[in-house]
Structures are given as C-alpha cells and as structure tokens.
Amino acid sequence: MSGGPPKALQSTGPHSLRDMPHPLAGSSSEEAVGGDSTPSPDLLMTRSFGDKDLILPNGGTPADTSSPASSSSLLNRLQLDDDIDGETRDLFVTVDDPKKHVCTMETYITYRITTKSTRVEFDLPEYSVRRRYQDFDWLRNKLEESQPTHLIPPLPEKFVVKGVVDRFSEEFVETRRKALDKFLKRITDHPVLSFNEHLSVFLTAKDLNVYKKQGMALLTRVGESVKHVTGGYKLRSRPLEFAAIGEYLDTFALKLGTIDRIAQRIIKEEIEYLVELREYGPVYSTWSALEGELTEPLEGVSACIGNCSTALEELTDDMTEDFLPVLREYILYSDSMKSVLKKRDQVQAEYEAKLEAVALRKEDRPKVPADVEKCQDRMECFNADLKADMERWQNNKRQDFRQLLMGMADKNIQYYEKCLMAWESIIPLLQEKPDAK
C-alpha cells in the first residue's frame, strides 16, 4: 500500500524535540520528553484544557484544532513535500545497546531501538523497544510486500558460517548493529517508507510477535497482484531511463564485487605481512641481549617494529569491520534494486498485454476499459516512485561512498602516522653517543 500524502503534523518550527511536549501528552504522562521549556504558542491552547482533557485515545485530533492555519504549520506542511532533511525531520531512530539472551532453545542478540518523533501516528514522543535480527528481516519483507514500487534498503547478511565467524563476538555484533542502524535510518529518511504502518509497529509495539501472528492471516493484496504475471508477455520496449538504470546497476555491482575482492586480498596480504613483522621485531630484542653498546638501539628498533605491528593490526581490523560490510551492503542493495526493476517491467508487461488484448477484441469502445486504465495508473505510479527513489538512491550512494572511501584513506593515513611517530622517536635514541668510558 502506498502511503498517502503525509498528514498535517503538529509542528512549531525548529524546536528541538526534547523541548516540545507532545500535544497529546500532558504533564502527567510518564513518557513525556523534557517538558520544562515553554510551550509554543500553538500548544498553549491545548495545555490549558487541563490534565484529564488531554488524555485522549490515539488518533484523536485535538492537535488539529490548534491553529492549523498558523503560518509555521503551513510552512511545515509544504516542507514535508520535499525530502526530509535534517532541520525538518520529525522522526529519529537509533539502534544500540546489543544484549545477549540465553534461552533453552537458542541464544540470540537483541538491539535496543529508540524512536523519537513528533508525528501524530505515534502516541508517545519516545519509544524504546528491543528487537532481534529476525524482526528486522520480517520488517523488510513486509516493506517489500507493501511498497513494491519502492527501493527497500538492504539488511546485513543473514547467514554466517558457524565456526568461521563468531556470531557473538563484539566485532561482529557491532558491525551488525551499525548496519541495522543504517537500515532504519534509510527507511526513516524515505518520504514514503517512513510512514509505513509496519514500520510504526516495529518501532513501537511491545510484543512484535503478537502483531506478526495477526499479520500472517491477511495477505496483502497489492503484493499478490504484482508477483505473478500470467502468459509470459514480453515487454515491448523498456523506457530508456529504466534500461539505463538496469545497465548501470549491472556494471555497478560488478565493479563493487571487484573492489570487494581487492579489499579482501589487501587485508589478507596485510595480515601475512603482520605475521612476519611479529617474528621480525623480537629478533632485534634477542640481538640486543647479546650486545653491550648496541643494546639500547637494538631494543629500541624491536619496540618500534612492535608498535608498527600493532598499528597494522588496527588497520586490518578497521577495514574488516567498517569497510567490507558497507561494500557488501551496496552489492545487496543493487541486487534488490534489480528485482524491483524486474517487477516494474512485469507491471508494464501486464499493462501492455491488457492493452493488446483490448485492441484485438476490436470492440468499439469509446474509452479504454477500467481495468486497463487501472493497470496504466499502476504502471505510471510505479515508474514515478522508482524514478524518485533512484534519484535519492544515487545521491545517497554518492555520499555514502564518498564517506566510505575517505574513511579508508583516513585509516591508512593514521596507520602511517603511527608508524612515522614510532620511527622518528627512536632516531635520537640511535644517535646517542655512548658514555665516555
């Protein structure tokens, strides 16, 4: 289900969320955020109702009565038509605090999801729930089903080979946490996806499993219709821009794959280099024990090499934890995008098939039958959504890669700076004249 145009939101302009009490929550609400600052003029009216009047069920509209025509709320409504940028964002989500749960059947990790929002859809200004990877996977599937015309961000890899990677190691959990955080942030940045009801439930429900079971009974309608195309009708011609996107994604994924392999190879070579360094340094130490005047210089060199080894280890760890996963995410992203493109093709094919069927029937209808029109609508919506998402994706991709590659350069610079410092610091030691005997 495509989200409709966003509802008018209670807003008082660029206040920080913490300063704004939720219009539906009075001072008696335990979940109220902040609350010591002076409320905006728009809220004054609601506040004066008194405590009991403010405890309203979800979906109530007292917010709407507070000067909807005020200039600031109008402005905000307009601004929401554009991409949500930092200043007008009203939904903030963070993933943190991983915890291990040991049960009889299994052991797993949960993450804390903290949501802060002024949106009307949310009863409370702040939520804190615990979710595990399964839940994220469920959310993503639901989003794909309910928003098939949009690009859904990827999740970090689901399966890990047991024995090779420790699912509970700090590094693995941290890498995953960052990826899950990125996942939710991408969704909440999206003007359409961020209003999806499954997302809201995911962010707010105390017990997700209950909701999951309910949801199972109802199969979404739209998803079904797009899944299978009968007849295998071939696409007449793909619009140029989508063909171009398809080609781009193919090459893009290829190049990323190559970069992934190169990065892995570099890390492998660096680790082997590290192994040799760890043998190399101590030999100087052994030598220094044999000498007299040369003892300190040799010991100094040994320590220096040790420092360089440590710096190298930090570099390889960083690259493994921060660089490779993001690269892989983008490969997954482009894979899922390709399948959305295929769906678009199917929708277009369906429309063209219907159109042709009508033409063949040679019925003398003045206008196109309703279902064909519906198909055309669906196709045009799909094209529009996809186009918009592609642009936003390209932008984000550029920023993400800029950050990723600058980060890689940074880590290498830091490595060399650490080594430089180590070697420069022993020069005076090496140049020291022995004490006159």
């Binding site: 893009f252 190169i262 570099i266 070579e269 280099y273 044999l290 590659l405 060399y416 430089l420 420069e424």
Partner: protein
C-alpha cells in the same frame, strides 16, 4: 637498476703510507710480510711496526693526521663490472665478471685526484688476496668479501650470479672490501695488497710464490686444537661464543627480513588493482567519476613506489651481511689462538715429561712408563755409561725445550696482545657501523611512512571531490 648509493659507513679515502711508487722494494723491507718461512716470524716484525703504525695511521678512517705531510690520500674504487669469457684451468670456456679497480691519489695541497692505477680483477683474485691475508695476519680480523652466491633473497631478487642487480651489489661489496683493507692500520701496508691494486699481470704468481698456502694451518690440526686445548684465554672463548650467536642471530634476521620484504611487496602491488577498477567504475558515474579516476591514479603511484623502497632496503641487508661474514673472521682469530695455546700446552707437557724422565733416570726411580724402562726390566739394567748418555741427551732436549717454550710463550703473549688490540678496534668499528646502519634503516622507514601519508592524503582529497 643501478644502486646509486655507496655504502655510507665506508671510508672512501684511506690513509696509506705511500713511498715513491718506483720503489716498492723499499716498502717491502719495512712491511712485515716478507715471504718468510714462518708466519710467526712475520708477527714479530709486525709487533715492532705496529706501535709506529698506530701513531702514523690514526683511526684508519681516511682522515689526515695533522703531523703527517708525507701521507697522501688514496682513493680506491671498483667502478665497473664487465662480463668476460675466457678459458679456465681445464681449458674450458667460461663466463665470468671482471671488475675495474681504480686507484687515485689525492694531492694534499690542491685536493685534486689523479688516476694512478687501473686494472681489472675477478672475484677469484679477491678471494686469493683474502686467503693470503688470513694466513699472514692471523691476529687481524680480516674484512670479509661479499657473498659468493646470492642468499637471503626475497622473491623478486634474482639468485643468479649473472643478474645485473647482483653484480652491481657485488661491485659495491668488493669496493667496500678494498676500502676496509686500505683503512686498516696494519693491512694497508701489505705489499701483496699494494700489488693487487697496481700490478695487473703476474700478480697471481707473485702471491703464490709467497708459498702462503703451505703456511696455512691445516684444518684438521686446528680442529684438533679446538677440542683439546685446556686453557684458552677466556676472552677468546667468550668471543667465539659471541661470534657463533651473532652469526645465528643475523642469519635469522636476514631470513625474516626477506620474508617481510616479500609480504610488503604484495600489499603495495595489490593496491594497484584499485587504480584499474576505479577507472572502470568512473566511466559509469557522473559526479563521482572525476574523483574516482584521479584517486585511482594515486593508487597506481602507491603500488609502484614499493620498488624503490625495497631496493634501498637491500642496502641495509648488505650492511648486516658484511657483519654476518665478519663473524667468520672473528672465529678465525680465536681458532689461531687456540692452536697456539694448544701447541704451547703440548710443548709444556712434552718438556715436563722429559724432565720427569731425566729425574727418574738420575735418581733411579721409575715412576713414568718408558719403553727404555720396560726393555731394561726385560733385558736387564743398563750400564751407568748408557744412563749418563741418556741423561745428557735428555738434558739437551730439555734445554732446547725450555728455549722453545719460552719463545712460544712470548709468541703467544704477543699474539694475544695484538689480536686483542685489533679486536677492540673491530668492536668500535662494528658498534659505529651497525648504529649507522640502524639509523639509515630508520630513516628509510620514515621516508616510506611519509610517502604513504602523502599518497593517501592525495587520494583522500580526490575522494572528497566525489
């Protein structure tokens, strides 16, 4: 790839006393090395020369001592290497490399250098020279030659003796050898060494005429002495242990360093692949394209920078190798001491036994076993005249023996003194050189880090423009 750098710790000019070149004969007389019958005799001459020499030669680093106007600076260089073919001893065609040795004398006043000699030598002639020096100067730590075959190579380096890089490094090593010899206060005065630099033809015959091969201590004798000596000087025993340990450690170090170089090479080279893929990727991008492309170029620069870096590091490895080979020279001096000490102990033992025999004969008691005693028991006592005769022979032998022991003792002490003096000199040289080597190694590492920072900073800037 020519290695541009000469070995830094080298003393390029050597102070060498040079009498007018027309009369090397005069030099010969003052030099301690007449082809005499007994190498030890040469030492005696060296002893008296030595005190003089150290005053004249100074620290042997090529600097002029203030009081010496007669000294001229000599510059020695091994400037070229050339492939040659010729016939060997078995009249078979062979290929070898010849090295050009140029000697220049530098006038004290105007500082200009004049080429005085230039000739070609091959590696085997260097070996011959060194073997000669080992025999005639057993109390000196004789500088080593560069390795005969390439060892401790990391995979990019060739182990082939004909490889130009190997030949180039060997050229530098041979020059280093000559500079070491010419800056040694004692070795530089050797006539054969002088002829090596100046007399192209017939030099080999001249060396062989000294008969030094015959004077060399037999390996078996030396080995025997090492095992059987009872009271070697503790300093030399310690020195021998030190040499053994040092050899083991430097070998280990060189092996690991070669592996480190290999791995480092791999790391740098793989980065070159980024260059290609960034270029390909930039082709499908719009705004990101330029940044990616130029960053890729920097990755290529990074990948190719490793070749020079590792070439410089080989120089460090060569410095370590020289001291690895020096351990053998140290051991040779220790072995010589053990041999002399053993001879001394044997002589003393022999003397003691003869004295014992004499005493027994004189007093009539038989405590030591002797064949004569045995036969006497079997065949009857000998006559007093026979006994007198034997006593007289023994007394003569004892007297000779005592003289012999005395001179051997003196020899031994002189050897210890001179050898230890050279060992002290060597220790100073070693500490100085190795410190210099470590400093230059650190400088190389610093340069490598700075290059790395530069390249990645450039790449980062390109990324920031994406």
């Amino acid at each position: 790839m020519r290695l541009r750098r000469r070995i830094k710790s080298q003393r390029r000019a050597a102070a060498m006393e040079q009498s007018p070149p027309q009369d090397p004969g005069r030099q010969l007389q003052s030099a301690p090395l007449e082809p005499l019958g007994h190498p030890a005799a040469g030492l005696e001459a060296a002893v008296s020369e030595d005190a003089e020499d150290t005053r004249k030669e100074g620290p042997g680093d090529g600097t002029m001592t203030e009081n010496n106007f007669s000294l001229k600076k000599i510059e020695i260089s091994v400037s070229e290497a050339e492939k040659r073919t010729g016939r060997n001893a078995m009249n078979m065609q062979e290929t070898y490399t010849a090295y050009l040795i140029e000697t220049r004398s530098v006038e004290n006043i105007d500082g200009q250098s004049v080429l005085t000699d230039s000739l070609w030598r091959r590696y085997s002639e260097f070996e011959l020279l060194r073997n000669y020096l080992l025999v005639y100067y057993p109390h000196i730590v004789v500088p080593p030659l560069p390795e005969k075959r390439a060892e401790f190579v990391w995979h990019k380096l060739s182990a082939d003796n004909m490889d130009p890089d190997f030949v180039e490094r060997r050229r530098i090593g041979l020059e280093n050898f000559l500079l070491r010899v010419s800056s040694h206060p004692i070795l530089c005065r050797d006539k054969i060494f002088y002829l090596f630099l100046t007399q192209e033809g017939n030099w080999k015959e001249t060396v062989n005429e000294t008969g030094f091969q015959l004077k060399a201590d037999s390996r078996l004798k030396a080995l025997n002495a090492t095992f059987r000596v009872k009271n070697p000087d503790k300093r030399f025993t310690d020195l021998k242990h030190y040499s053994d340990e040092l050899q083991s450690i430097i070998s280990h170090l060189l092996r690991v360093r070669a592996r480190v170089a290999d791995r480092l090479y791999g790391v740098y080279k793989v980065h070159g692949n980024y260059g290609r893929v960034f270029s390909e990727w930039s082709a499908i991008e719009k705004e990101m394209g330029d940044g990616l492309q130029s960053a890729g170029h920097h990755m290529d620069v990074y990948a190719s920078s490793i070749d020079d870096i590792l070439e410089d590091e080989e120089h460090y490895a060569d410095q370590l190798k020289e001291y690895l080979f020096y351990t053998e020279a140290l051991r040779a001096v220790c072995r010589k001491h053990e041999l002399m000490q053993y001879d001394l102990e044997m002589a003393a033992q022999d003397l003691a036994s003869k004295k014992q025999q004499c005493e027994e004969l004189a007093t009539g008691t038989v405590r030591t076993f002797s064949l004569k005693g045995m036969t006497t028991k079997l065949f009857g006592q000998e006559t007093p005249e026979q006994r007198e005769a034997r006593i007289k022979v023994l007394e003569e032998q004892i007297s000779e023996g005592e003289q012999y022991l005395k001179s051997k003792n003196l020899e031994g002490r002189e050897f210890l003194k001179n050898a230890w003096a050279d060992i002290e000199r060597f220790k100073e040289q070693k500490n100085h050189d190795l410190k210099e080597a470590l400093i230059s190694y650190a400088v190389m590492q610093i340069s490598m880090c700075k290059k790395g920072i530069q390249v990645w900073t450039n790449a980062k800037e390109c990324f920031s423009k994406m």
